[in-house]
Amino acid sequence: MSLLVVEGLGIKFGGLHAVKDVGFTLKSGEIVSIIGPNGAGKTTLFNMISGIYLPLAGRVMLNGEDVTGMSPNRLAERGLSRTFQNLQIFQSMTVLENVMAGFHLQARGPVLSDMLGLPGSRRRSREAEAGARLLLERVGLERAAEREAGALSYGALKRLEIARALALRPKVLLLDEPAAGCNAVETEEIDHLIAAVAAEGVSILLVEHDMKMVMRISNHIVVLDYGEKIAEGDPATVSRDKRVIAAYLGAQATEAANADG
């Protein structure tokens, strides 16, 4: 069964139809990539799926339930988690605490218990910390655990966001340009990480402009242009699509990608 089903999603900003009638499905453990030119509506699509924007039309089904317009925190409870293109870091908390905050759903408890420092509250914190340290190791930030998050370099913050998103143990993970700001080698590490997460059964929706990465790990690719879906299919099909090449890839890039692949 499809874990995430998006149907006819659309939204407008002022006069601009930023996303129009976009639909696709995502199965368990699958990696689906959304690509398209700048301003095609990829991030906006993410924002609608994750409950930050209320769609004007269409619906989002998660695990068979209609979750259209549901608030992000309730979506998180249902196993949807994401990272951001424009970094959203808890700046004045440490790196470790950032990831621990990602464990909120498992760690939360009654306020009173937390204020009184009851053993239950302490245990929940300890578990979150242990989990967070493991995740930091996984994204290669274990050495920065105690640093203030605001002091990390851009690339490191990107990875911190991934770790925080993973902390929710999501069923569906939305990644908005996870490799931006990383060089080829670092991108490859992220690439492996994503593949490994997917292998654990997490469904991944990916927005990324690094075509090498997209072509390598996607099971399926959806191409947007001016808010509309202009193509979809497996990487090979999509990369040969004339409209996709014209609107997005450009001739050179295609050659390069093909040459490397």
Binding site: G181, Q252, A253
Partner: protein, 233 residues
């Protein structure tokens, strides 16, 4: 044109640049590559004066730059497209561009703006919208265009290709290359090391606050260590 000697810089008590030496000759395109956290952004911030320098010298067009406040450096000919884009989110696209040429008040401003629109037509479409509403890539275009509005003699670009669609990445590199013809010197920090070195004359590799390699771009691309560590080939 630009010479950096023994540059050190710190955030609080932590030093992140431990004596960087580099130089950029007039009309050159120089690429700086390095891993996350190596200090590339910090280096550019020092050059544009928004980051304190704890030791070392920066010479620009034969004059020391270290004591010049940030806002005067554009007058000296140094413009930057910073990391994280740093556009004026509450102002319109056009106002952003106009402010890029804040220090000028002549008719060339309008011409430059038309050039910017020609380079990135989407910006023309969105000229009257708040820049904060732009998509990530569109904001990146705006940041680059705004830097160009400052008519730099030397342009500092911090990861200009980040978040841009492949077709635009190619275009950006073409633009950078074409700046050469306009006699603009470019210092280019890039994660897309392959792309950057392909258009650069020379390159530096920054490793945890120190320069570890330098040389002609072609040499660096050919160097197996660099190929393995930064180009992923």
């Amino acid at each position: 044109m630009l010479t950096v000697e023994g540059l050190r810089s710190r955030y609080g008590r932590i030093e992140v640049l431990h004596g960087v030496d580099l130089h950029v000759d007039s009309g050159e395109i120089v690429a700086v590559v390095g891993a996350n956290g190596a200090g590339k952004t910090t280096l550019l911030r020092c050059l544009s004066g928004v980051q304190p320098v704890s030791a070392g010298q920066i010479m620009f067009r034969g004059e020391p730059l270290t004591a010049v406040p940030a806002f005067r450096r554009l007058q000296r000919g140094l413009a930057q497209s910073p990391e994280g884009r740093q556009i004026f989110t509450n102002l319109t696209v056009e106002e952003n561009l106009r402010l890029g040429a804040f220090i000028y008040e002549d008719e060339r401003v309008d011409r430059d703006m038309q050039d910017a629109f020609a380079m990135f037509p989407i910006l023309r479409e969105k000229r009257n919208l708040a820049a904060g509403g732009l998509s990530g890539g569109q904001q990146q275009m705006l940041a680059i265009a705004r830097a160009l509005m400052g008519r730099p003699a030397c342009l500092l670009l911090d990861e200009p290709s980040m978040g841009l669609a492949p077709i635009l990445v190619a275009q950006i590199f073409d633009v950078v290359k074409s700046l050469k013809a306009l006699d603009v010197t470019v210092l280019l920090v890039e994660q897309n090391a392959f792309g950057a070195l392909s258009i650069a004359d020379r390159g530096y590799v920054l490793e945890t606050g120190r320069i570890s390699f330098e040389g002609a771009a072609a040499e660096l691309i050919a160097d197996p260590r660099i190929r393995e560590a930064y180009l992923g080939i």
